[in-house]
Amino acid sequence: MRITCTINGQQQQADDVWEGESLLYVLRERLGFPGSKNACEQGECGSCTVYLDGVLACACLVAAGQAQGRDVRTIEGLAPGGELSAVQRAFLEAGAVQCGFCTPGLLVAAHDLIERQPEPSDAEIREALAGNLCRCTGYEKIMEAVRLAAARRSGAGGLPDDGTDHPHQVITRPDHPGIQRGGQQRGPAGRHT
């Protein structure tokens, strides 16, 4: 069947979609959005987390046909034009990325949290990220990153994190001085507990 939907603001169309396949498969294998990762295929790991009509969902559990006519925002949509959003910058600076496989899902979930709750408590961060598994970091750096992103967003007057509001803060180079080889990361700019 043919699936037409909006992905990151642009109309997309996929043909010959099998009726039993997931939105995740359509995104990755048919439409060239490989950012959302395929790991557990049962909603346990959160690596495929996307927005579906603005609501956080595991793309692996959305039937392709259910996305017909809907609005999908993937991890690629958090960095329009390649400019990283505040939450992505915070992950880089806090060293919240190791192997990187879980990172897209965590970023979308963290983005959703900060949009809904600009000043989340630690308990709220943990709860919001409860559906995203990371086997590398031990989560502490991820917690720091989310605190950092939230603090910056509050400091910026609570503007939405769409990656375009503060171009002077944007980090586009992966070799930004905040990130060093060998896991030696600069400490987070501010820790709010």
Binding site: E21, Q42, G43, V55, L61, A130
Partner: protein, 288 residues
């Protein structure tokens, strides 16, 4: 495979009548797992997410009509005032992503003995509204679960809603799992006090082939409260009453050993949960 996507409830019923083997799909949190792992390949998927009326809930005639497509996130956020037991249970489902998609209707459709919505529905004496082109039936929750992952639906029927008269007393829900998030219950228990009819409701999850009420425990406690004049006085519960209640709850269970826990552990967990749920509910009753 064919993907059927009705836009209205009437169309959904007509499609289910025409294709009785069609597998209904709502949030996909159970159905898509089966498809992704190639555990089955239904000939037809019947997508109910376009049927707007299923995604509504409304109070009316002293009852809550909870559409089969209302997500756990909404139950958790919007129904806590009327159905705190169900809201608490919804809060323990999966993760934010799962609660945003999963529905109480889907829980009933899957009819897993571990489904989190079942114990509070049982304790609140909920009814399941099912419909086909032939007509509507109201099935009491405790007659709805007929076996492991089996329910009382006829092949041409769909679950439309849950009807619940909010219990007039406190409601509690407890769940045992290996962690707080993304966990299938090892055992679960829900309790509702119905002081207006001097009755008690219970629901046991993950400790038998189906979710079930502990009828003897309900009767024992209701009678003990009546005999002691405690519904009126709201005095302290004798410890022997709490203990006997918990004991009768465990006797209603029929757990098995499986990967999530042993039968023995489940019985122990149920006993602890029954005691705690009753203590919490009674303390709340005393305060109100």
């Amino acid at each position: 495979m064919e993907f059927l996507q009705p836009q209205t409830w009437v169309e959904a019923l007509q499609l289910k009548a025409a294709y009785p083997h069609a597998v209904p799909i709502q949030g996909g949190t159970d159905v898509m797992v089966e498809l992704n792992f190639d555990r089955y390949r239904p000939e037809y998927l019947l997508d109910l997410t376009r049927v707007g009326e299923l995604a509504e809930w409304a109070p009316g005639n002293g009852r809550i009509w909870l559409g089969a497509g209302v997500t756990y996130t909404r139950v958790q956020g919007e129904l806590g005032g009327w159905l705190p037991g169900l809201a608490m249970a919804s809060r323990t489902v999966g993760s934010p992503q799962i609660r945003n998609r999963g529905t109480v209707g889907g829980n009933l459709g899957a009819a897993s003995p571990a489904g989190d919505a079942h114990p509070p529905l049982l304790a609140a004496y909920a009814q399941v509204e099912v419909e086909s082109v032939r007509g509507t039936r109201l099935i009491p929750a405790d007659e709805f679960y007929t076996g492991v992952k089996r329910n009382a639906l006829e092949p041409d029927e769909l679950i439309k809603a849950v009807l619940v008269t909010p219990p007039t007393g406190p409601q509690q829900f407890c769940k045992i799992g290996t962690r707080n998030a993304m966990v299938i219950a090892v055992a679960a228990f829900s309790l509702a006090l119905h002081p207006d009819r001097q009755a008690v409701g219970t629901g046991i999850g993950s400790a038998g082939p189906t979710p079930r009420r502990a009828l003897a425990a309900e009767e024992f406690l209701a009678q003990a409260l009546t005999a002691g004049g405690l519904w009126e006085s709201r005095g302290d519960l004798p410890e022997s009453t709490t203990r006997r209640f918990a004991d009768l709850v465990t006797k209603a269970a029929a757990p098995i050993d499986d990967v999530r826990g042993s039968a023995r552990y489940r019985v122990h967990a149920l006993s602890v949960m029954a005691r705690r749920a009753l203590s919490w509910a009674w303390r709340e009753f005393q305060r109100t």
